[in-house]
Point group: D2
Chain length 491, copies 4
């Protein structure tokens, strides 16, 4: 999800505007590869929006001809991976509707936990919903005239606030109208959202102080900061939990900060650090890569082992492996070479080929492996299907010992807030303990990082802040959800 | 290019055969992404071949339905990147023709240096050629009845030998007939080709000794060894320069070893080590990754510099960077995060976005960079367009110094033997010396590895062998070609 | 538009159900080639619908795999040509929404004349509309909770009736719910809609009497009867103007007949007879072909001419030409041969090729033409671009005289009820009278059928009925619209 | 197949040239819908050809972008339906090869009867053939250096003549070189080929006399004359059996007329008249439509019947039906309405839907049918699967009697010369006589035209010519082939 408002309405710049949106979106492609879309608005001079959405990867959805049609100096984009609704054309985002108060486009990252009750309310008001997507639900809920006495008419911030009170978890939203964009982060801060400022290209260097006097050429709001440099923007700050921020040609403005119910704690998804985010993104003032490296250091402290080399499953475990190597003083060396071209797997009629499947994806660097005791780091284990064949690959290449170290705690619980995690039955950590799992995958030993270790790694650089791990959502690891879940969810 | 002959004709195994070929081909995808093809033969029972070819990546060309049609227990495959002929459907390989002596399929890696004279000869014999591809030329040249007195009739080895004498450079070939496959490497050994043995899956572990008593379940011949494990094959040896090797259901057999003209030296392409091959492949008894690491060590010895960290442009420079780090004792740290999803670039109307282009591909890991003196390693510089923006990216992220070290010598001359290298005018090394280039790209310093250093790195593990660098082709670096080039080539 | 309810829920029949829908739809393809869709329902056992829609022709949208997914024993289909909203994926019909009272699918043929006021009402109730299509508007209007005091809850017939009172013109609708389908025709009967009965295949022969005792195997409702035989159905009757008919597994039932406002006359679109409908369809108890033939007879009486042969522009004018020939006793002969394969026209750089364009579509049967005086019949003239080149074609082939006779009156006014007619400026009949038009196109003479003649031809077989031509909508010919048009329409 | 040479090399005209070729090809689309291709040559100024070929219909293969690439003022095109080789991309025509004497493009209509021996000869000369197409075979045979003593060097007419002596049946060829096109018709004249002259657009009217003084703006050679008007060309004459005609910028010239072996008779395919050709084409000085009409007259004389109306299966039987009606004085009336949009047929799980299949393609015009005795004319019966359901359709619509009259004799023998006719076992005429077939399909009576009747109809206008029906090939009706067939053909 990605939005932008440019301050100066010069024709030459307007022409290139959508490329900003598309470039920013490419930097968020890792957050969703199922479908993508961009909606632009010409702002003052035009009544309607320009929309293009499609299934698949951004580079296959947009081409020069389509880009030319997406005119405007204001736009939002979205890349999707499906949580609630199916992966189909109709569920592509942003959703665009015509309302009594002008056109509206909505992009949503996250997943509502009280979808069912909100859906009943919207249907009960006489609205037909064309999909099962909670993002369409949010859109139509924003359109509904609020009950008498509350907000009425085209007061969109009031409508947004009303919705946030009805559904406090979990979303980051971009909401575009003719000439403005609202950025919204849920009161728990469960999903990330941050602000960037487009500056003259000579001023892109990062600053020591926060004292930022440069005139903005535009503003951008995004789930992650990793794409900012690719469009010439500088990171400014996170959107606060519960904040409604407005972007117009006049600049950015905080409209309101909606409180969490019952004084609950903030609950930023810790899995963004572990797995989901791109390693050069910044959350809570720190780079994701640094947190991952710190996880590796914690892991080395918690689960030391004598070995010749530390290595990783590329590329997911590399940052943690470098952390482990530094802490343990064991040299880092690459042991696996990744084939970037592996895609579809065909029906495989023999057990043999199934067993060899991982060798299509990774090649062993045999001269680095032969006769070595190896500590192999990965970021997480979900179903546990891949690590076994990798260990066999290394043993066939001559490894003497293979010790697995996982730079996150065991995944045990489902997520209802926007991360697709398999059912409890499929999660290997619910079936086998460390010793049995080590045996199952053929490792000489296998240990996970502890929850405390992970939380400490995440908070390592946040010395001055309140240190209580309810401040991060660890539900998938601990089962402690940030808010009550509706009774009808089947877990 | 990839071929295989299975020894036992069991139906169950025959069904899965083509998956071996396709899997092996996926491991060679880095050698060519323009088009690919597979031809299979049912051997004893069938008169004709099954063929499927297409433009683009292997995963988009083959699907389960197509795979089911590719029956047989014998097959060759090819992935292409174009050197001589255009990137079009008609030039996809393998080429298949019906001849007076049965069907023939040919896959070719390399580029003929005397195409023009061979082409004139073939056309003069009354053959119409449907493409400008030198691979079709090779195929039709094999079909031609040799002049009286020489070989005649269906003696294919003699025809192959005859062709090798007419055109000694540069090719590795797989030539399939109804029930056998010939593997052919040019007399100079310019292009790589190696043999693997398919063994029971429990026996895949690499061996200390060459004493290999396992019964083969099949044989495979391939440009590189990197895909062998993915099909359950064990590396056996290289095909010798000038060797014609025959694969049948009886096993493998060397038919002949054709000599180089005028006692010239062997000339294996050194650029395979530098850039082209996958790092887990084995050439001349050593792993490509190890050679690249050794290049980094040599570079550290030749061009030392004081710095805080050694890093690389991922993933091309990483092996050398680890070598440089070990030799220099400067710690290795990642500084760039690669966006795997960058593809097509759209028309960019502003200078600004063009300058920012590289930021779409790489993100700076700012916390690893800030305030640091960095040695940045890459494998090679061709046009020099990318390294400048990368340096700016690092400086904007706070790097104090950026020193570029290139793990290969300057590229100065065109290759006529299978590697696409731009014209001399486009090669930046022909325009700017180290000092000027450093200034041009904004580096604090920039040096290349010397030719001697590269050759020494390549020969580091070959103590017992004849140590003369004419044994490798370094034409693109030195202009010393392994054989005379025909006069009509315009360089 | 096409629907069906099968009485017997046998598995074997259910499997084939969607093929009935698809076959029926193919017979309606002439009514719209822009997009098509089918929605099926499994009735008792399933909560949701199966939907497939796409751009283009039916045969390209549906394939066996898609058909297998469209399970159920109840379904509606739609083929679209755009009148109000753009020709885009989002506007494909049927529209499907989830409502507080179950799923709802709507297919719409026609065009609302009071779109603007209805749209304002729906938006004002807090609903976001995702398209400009008046068919989505109808769907959401049906979902809306009616005002207090009127219908409430899931009483769909009451909701439909309410809508019909808000918007009396122009539509035929099929509205599907879980286990029933409503067929709805607007109170003016402007768009056609008829009922068919699926009978055992041996009983398909048409009956003299209306006494139809066969047990129905299912029921079908369709814009035209022409597809009935292709699915084994027998024509039963038209849906009455204003009728809401319900199809369930129990059979068909008239729910209500909504009256026209202010005792206005019925207004069935006369252009369906002239141009739009397939010639084997039955409207008002008569075959369209017979009416067209009768138009030809009337034309011969109104505009006789001495000639050697009567012919037609195939295939649009052939029925009328046979009528003209019979009445005038001049023999019919074909003079033009149609190339069925003409499709796209490429950019034509020369005037020459533009003039020859019609020769791509038609070939002159020169031996039938040479030296002949020809009366050439066509069904209508819109912009007048085609008839001139056809006349030249016949003259080049040796025709002595070419007299044009048009089997309908001049088109002079726009239609706001579902037929796409160009603007008044583009209609050639608003620019040139008969004499000038004849000269313009190079005809020896040119006359139209009179409005009276057309109406008489349409009523020729309706002796017993009220004979007043306000009973048919002739707005495009006379400017007399069946109801007041909203002020904001720009004509 | 379609070719053209323009006399004047004006840039403006050159730009539009390929549109001439494409337009002409569209008029030949009925001759083949599997694949199509166009090759153009820039003549004097260019070394090589521009080629585009593809599977499917012309309108889907060519677009504006492709057309722009097909530069030149000389070109040949081809539409293919497969006889010998499979319907695959590689078999698309024209075939283009590079030869020792320049580029060569060949388009072939027909089928060689001595493929096997010619193929052995070409393979034996050391040429690899990439397809089983006899069109590739012709191309490579033209490239081969003829035996000593015969023609040698680039004397293409001599090479063509040599080929015609090796393979006298059956083909029409267009052979393009850099700056000229040869049109070639086999010595038996089995396949049609004719010449047209591009004239100023005002001069297109057909002429009484052959005295044609207009200066040509270009020349065209085509299998049929039906497309001439669409490119502004006037029919000139047929290419003579055995003629090699050369088109250059200087005009047209007969190079040679190769004689038939053993004084055999001319053998123009009579099935072109019956079925294959478009009805406005001219063969042997007469319009195909007129011959078909005459077949209807002959049929009325041979097989009269008392009836109310004569009708046809549209559109194949319409010309003959008009002939039958004129001769018998029974009025013609349409009884079937064709659905132009019927395409693909999906898997049909029930017998019921299979029986109803024809109702998807045709609708009965019930008011024309009810209570009538009908004579229904069709052009031919092959497998006999369609006529039965059509008769049932008419009976269900109320027909009193249905008498089938086929305007050609029974199809009994395979064709080896370019027409795809099913095996003898599949031909219904080899299984059932008239009486049994009538019963089988449910007709009140069924008769064919006699062979004598057909031949008389074909020769009706050729009073002055030698009247011997060996002058037409009637092999599929009589088993009398124009020349000996090779022994290895399996009939």
């Amino acid at each position: 999800m990605y939005i932008q408002e440019r301050k100066k309405y010069q024709l030459e710049k307007t022409k290139q505007f959508v490329i900003f949106t598309q470039s920013g979106l490419v930097a968020l492609q890792h957050r969703g590869q199922e479908s993508a879309g961009i909606v632009t608005s010409e702002g003052v001079c035009s009544k309607s929006f320009h929309v293009h959405k499609g299934m698949g990867m951004i580079n296959n959805i947009f081409n020069d001809e389509i880009m030319r049609k997406l005119k405007g100096n204001l736009g939002i984009g979205h890349t999707r991976y499906s949580t609630s609704a199916a992966s189909e054309e109709v569920n592509c985002q942003p959703f665009v509707v015509h309302t009594a108060h002008g056109a509206l486009a909505v992009g949503h990252n996250g997943e509502l936990v009280n979808t069912e009750s909100l859906r009943k309310m919207v249907l009960g008001r006489g609205v037909g919903l064309s999909t099962h997507s909670d993002s369409e639900l949010i859109t139509q809920a924003l359109c509904l005239n609020p009950p008498e006495g509350e907000v009425n008419g085209p007061d969109w911030p009031a409508r947004i606030k009303h919705l946030m009170q009805l559904a406090p978890l979990s979303y980051s939203l971009v909401i575009m109208q003719r000439d403005k964009i609202y950025g919204v982060r849920d009161p728990y801060g469960n999903r990330p959202l941050c602000l960037g400022k487009i500056v003259p290209i000579g001023n892109l260097a990062s600053r020591e102080s926060d004292d930022d006097d440069d005139e903005a050429e535009g503003w951008v709001i995004s789930s992650e900061s990793c794409g900012f440099l690719s469009i010439g923007a500088r990171y400014v700050r996170e959107v606060f939990p519960g904040e409604i921020v407005e972007l117009t040609r006049e600049g950015i403005k905080t409209i309101e900060i909606v409180e969490r119910p019952n004084k609950k704690r903030q609950a930023f998804c810790i899995f963004e650090y572990v797995y989901f985010a791109r390693s050069d993104s910044i959350f809570e003032g720190q780079m994701v890569y640094s947190v991952r490296m710190q996880c590796g250091r914690m892991l080395a402290m918690e689960s030391p082992i004598e070995a010749d080399i530390v290595s990783s499953v590329p590329e997911s475990g590399t940052a943690a492996a470098h952390g482990y190597a530094r802490e343990s003083k064991i040299p880092f060396a690459e042991v696996l070479c990744k084939n970037r071209y592996v895609g579809r797997t065909f029906i495989q009629p023999s057990t043999r080929l199934r067993q060899l499947g991982v060798a299509k994806k990774f090649g062993a660097l045999s001269e680095n492996v032969k006769g070595k005791k190896i500590v192999l780091i990965d970021d997480s284990i979900v179903r546990g299907n891949t690590i076994g064949p990798i260990i066999k690959l290394l043993r066939d290449a001559g490894a003497k010992e293979v010790h697995i170290r996982i730079a996150s705690p065991p995944l045990k619980y489902p997520c209802y807030m926007g991360i697709n995690i398999p059912t409890r039955e499929e999660l290997i950590a619910n079936k086998l303990d460390n010793v049995k799992l080590a045996k199952h995958v053929g490792a000489d030993s296998l240990t996970y990082l502890s929850v405390e270790g992970l939380v400490e790694a995440v908070r390592y650089r946040m010395d001055n802040r309140e240190s209580n791990y309810i401040g991060h959502c660890t539900a998938c690891l601990t089962g402690e959800y940030p808010d009550e879940l509706p009774g009808d969810l089947d877990w």
